[in-house]
Each structure stands twice: as structure tokens, then as C-alpha cells.
């Protein structure tokens, strides 16, 4: 912790810690929880404070232990959702590339049939990642694209299907229902699918992140969070509240705009960066 001078009676130091957590978008409630958890450990040194914070923060960000992707099914279906502009399409390109590098064959499904040039954008990423591409005509039924992609994966023997969806605000009930319908179509098409439903969250997001997580989880049962744009200065502290209040683990982290800018989530590294 840069500049931390630990002294249990130093109220300024505790306020300084609060400021660090709030500045990282942890929000007041989570900040208080972290500070109380640290107090209960009775830290005696700067070392105790750093280690304590790392452990507390890491635990909040990964509420279910090891955050791995379940790719045991064949094809394994990954549904990618989130509000507008968070990085879903780009993340899919990166993820497809990672999976291909680990020897898996991938199909990406362009189920954003609404936004201008959404399919063209995903198609470029598919090409870069060496993945097959399944789309439809613009304005077509998004659920049908997901269905077609799973069908194609079964026919061609592909290992993974990643479904891209249109950005939508969690407050748009009709669009959230559209997403719930897509999930039902996927589940009807393939038992157990979607095996992963990833909510893509922008690291610059403030307290609204928890609202997003709650409503998307209610609509489609989210299995993990992808935290993007962590290469900026935002710390992504909203994922602590998301983990703590909604129970969603962070599984992947986006750190740039290129094909290889996706990393598995490391809770300790994240905690260190957050309080450092």
C-alpha cells in the first residue's frame, strides 16, 4: 500500500484507506465492510494491512473459489451479455483466440442483429481468431442465430459456441425478456446450455454495476463476469459489490484492444492493484 503508515489510532490513515476504496469504485457499503473486516484482524504492521486487504478484497471478488470456464460439454456454449459498449464483441474475439490457442475449435454467433455493423465487427474478430462465423440478415431473430450456431457446431463437430448479443440496458424490460427468451431457446436446443453466461462489465463503471449484475442475473443466470478496460486507470471496484451482493465471480479480465489482451482473473493481483 503506497504511502500507508499504519497506526491503529491514526484516524487519518483509516480515512485514507476509505478514500482509496471509494476512489476505486467499491462504494460506501463495500468500503465499510472491507474496513471492518480489516479491523477484526487487528493488523499490527504495514505488512499486516497489505496482506489483510489483499485477502479480504480477493475473497470478495471471487465468491465461488476458482473462477474457471466450464468447457466440458461439446459443444460448450458461452452466452455473452451486458450493457452497451462494455466490450462484449471484442472480448468474444479475444476469447475465441485463446480457446483456439488451447486447441479448441470455435464458432462465434452474431446474435446482435440490431446495431449498425455489429455483425461485420464480429466477423473481423472471427477471422482474426480463426473461428467459424454464423450470422443472419440484419434485424433477424437473435435467438435463431444462437440456435443456428449450435446446430452448426453439432454438424461440424466444433468444441465451443460463443454467442454475441446486442448491448442493452438492464432497465429495458422488453430487451431483458428478449435475452431470457434467447437463453430458453439455447437450453431447448442443447441440454445444459448455455454452460457459461458471461456478463461483461466496464472497469470504469460506478455503482450502477451492481444494478446491472442483479438484473442480468435475474434474467439469464450469470455464471461469471468479464471485467474489461482494466488497462485504463479505473480499478473496477464495482466487482467487489457484484461478488458480495450478487454472488458473481470475475472470471476474465480485458486489458486492451488487441486479440491477446484477455487474461484469466487473478484475485490477488487484482486486490494488489486496487489498494496499491
Amino acid at each position: 500500500l503506497v504511502g500507508w503508515r499504519y497506526n491503529p489510532d491514526d484516524l487519518d490513515a483509516w480515512e485514507g484507506l476509505e478514500d482509496i476504496l471509494i476512489a476505486a469504485d467499491c462504494g460506501m457499503a463495500t468500503t465499510q465492510e472491507v474496513v471492518e473486516a480489516l479491523e477484526r484482524r487487528h493488523p499490527r504492521s504495514e505488512e499486516d494491512v497489505s496482506t489483510g486487504l489483499e485477502e479480504i478484497v480477493a475473497a470478495l471478488a471471487s465468491p465461488r473459489g476458482e473462477p474457471t470456464l466450464d468447457l466440458s460439454a461439446r459443444p460448450a456454449v458461452i452466452l455473452v451479455v451486458g450493457v452497451n459498449g462494455t466490450g462484449k464483441t471484442t472480448t468474444i474475439g479475444k476469447l475465441a483466440s485463446r480457446l483456439a490457442a488451447s486447441g479448441r475449435s470455435v464458432i462465434v454467433a452474431a446474435a446482435d442483429t440490431y446495431r449498425a455493423a455489429a455483425e461485420e465487427q464480429l466477423e473481423v474478430w472471427a477471422r482474426r481468431a480463426g473461428a467459424d462465423f454464423v450470422g443472419s440478415s440484419r434485424g433477424g431473430d437473435p435467438a435463431a442465430v444462437a440456435f443456428d450456431a449450435i446446430e452448426a457446431a453439432q454438424a461440424r463437430g466444433r468444441d465451443v459456441v460463443i454467442v454475441d448479443t446486442a448491448g442493452r440496458l438492464h432497465t429495458q424490460t422488453n430487451l431483458m425478456e428478449e435475452l431470457a427468451k434467447m437463453r430458453r431457446v439455447i437450453a431447448a436446443k442443447l441440454d445444459g446450455a448455455p454452460h457459461e453466461t458471461l456478463l461483461v462489465v466496464d472497469a470504469t463503471t460506478g455503482q450502477n454495476g451492481v444494478r446491472q449484475a442483479r438484473l442480468f442475473d435475474e434474467a439469464v443466470s450469470v455464471t461469471g463476469v468479464v471485467l474489461t478496460k482494466l488497462d485504463g486507470t479505473a480499478k473496477g471496484g464495482a466487482v467487489l459489490a457484484i461478488g458480495n451482493e450478487v454472488g458473481l465471480p470475475v472470471k476474465l479480465v480485458g486489458v486492451g484492444e488487441h486479440l491477446d489482451d484477455l487474461q484469466p482473473f487473478d484475485a490477488r493481483d487484482f486486490a494488489r492493484a486496487l489498494v496499491g
Partner: protein, 292 residues
Amino acid sequence: SLSDKLQGVLSDLRRRGKLSEADLKKALREIRLALLEADVNFRVVKEFVARVRERALGAEVSKSLTPGQEVVKIVHEELADLMGKGSSKLAFAGRPPTVILLCGLQGSGKTTASAKLALQLRKEGKSPALAACDLARPAAIDQLEQLGCQIQVPTYALRGTGDAVAAARHGLEQARAQGRDVLILDTAGRLHVDEQLMDDLVAVRQTVRPHDVLLVLDAMTGQDAVTVAEAFARRVAFDGVIMTKLDGDARGGAALSVKAVTGVPITFTSSGEKLEPLEAFHPARMASRILG
């Protein structure tokens, strides 16, 4: 709501007749919580609460029959006052074309806002054009061209190059050649800490000499809004802000943070993906939204 909380905290003030230090502390704490919950930057919150504290110690509160309401009124006034200062209108050129440059972080809504702005100006009787200067994002040019097509506004693009300055210059030449009176340049999303991309943006700015530089900011942006705004202000001196995605339930505290720290007012807001005109900024409305 904050209003209810403040009424509760200061409910028996009327009986006791004056505002005690304890009462004030409780009230200020509620205000601080509301603003932090709304994503206002924590340093901006500290300064704002200090300002409210000063006014709350005055006669208007202690003499009031409803001190809670009085404090709420002060908070609303201070907030709306802060947000509303300064002109938030577009500047138009004496000799066309007026050049408007949009910039901001990745995914904030620049491309969509460029098209909405073009549509709005077209409806106001101007003859706008769009210039696609994002040469990095896959299908970025396609996206702007498709939007331009939907609103019947010409879109200038330069394919086969990664040079944003060349694309910007090309757009300006085309706008002049075709007698368009406004040129709106859409640029690639970029991080304020990416030196190369910030240099690029400065180079584009120097090439087209815009009359308006607008920072496009997502309403759900949290504490980082200050760092981003300061960096963009330092490098490209934006003179207006477009806050997007206000159709969601993000409180939009970043609007206050950016205004407080850079002094730049919000010019327009965007509340939807559909191509319709942007909305003019309403300081009092934004203040209510932020306060919850």
C-alpha cells in the same frame, strides 16, 4: 430519497430552534452518502459538502419552520448552480464549415452521438456531414456510414489507411468541396493514459482546427471520470460534454465531477440508441437525478 432522509435527520430541529453540530454532521453525512452512491467523485463530494455546510449554518436553516426542507433546497440549489454555470451551446463558424470533433473513452457512445448530432443539425436546417476518423475498430467506418445513410447525411471515409489525420483532412476537404456547413468528426475511443493515441487526437485537432471539441461520457462512469476529464482537458481542451446512456438508471454523478473539476459544461445528453436528436442539458433535472 435524500429529501426524506434529511427531513428525518433534522425533524426535531424546529423544536430546539437551532442547528446543533451533531444535527449538521448527520445531515452532511446523508448528503455525502447520496452523492457517492450517485458516483460523484469523492474529492468533489468533500468540497461540495463543505460548501453546503457553510450555508446550512446560516439563518435560513435555523430560523426555518422546516429545516430539513431548507437543507434539501440548499443542496439542490448548489448542485444546479454548479452544473448550470457557463454557456452550453455549440459555437458556429463565421465561415463554414463549422468543425465539431467528438472524443472520449472506448464504448462511450461517440459514433452514435455523431450521427444523432448530425441528424439534429440537419433538422435545424444545416447541411452537416460526417467524417469517419476511427480507423482502428473493426467495421467502425461501416458503422458510421450505415448510420449516416439512415439519416441521409453524407459520410466521408478514407479506407486502406490507419492514418486518422489523413482521414480527418480528407473529410474536411470533402466537406468544403461539397459546400457542407458543418463537419462532425467521429474518432476512435482511446484511454487518456495511452500516449500514442492521445498524441494522435492532438494531431487530428491541429489538422482540422475544430470550433467545438466535445467529450463523450457514459452516464455510468464512476470515480475515474475526474482522471479522464482532466487528462482530456489538458491534451485537447474540450469545450463541451455529451453525456450518454441516460435512459438507464445510472445517477450520472460523473457529470458533476467533470463540471466541478474542468469547469466545462454539459452540452447535450443522449437517452437512447435510436437515431433522434440529442437533448439539451437541463441542470436542475440532472441535479435531481444525481441526488436520487
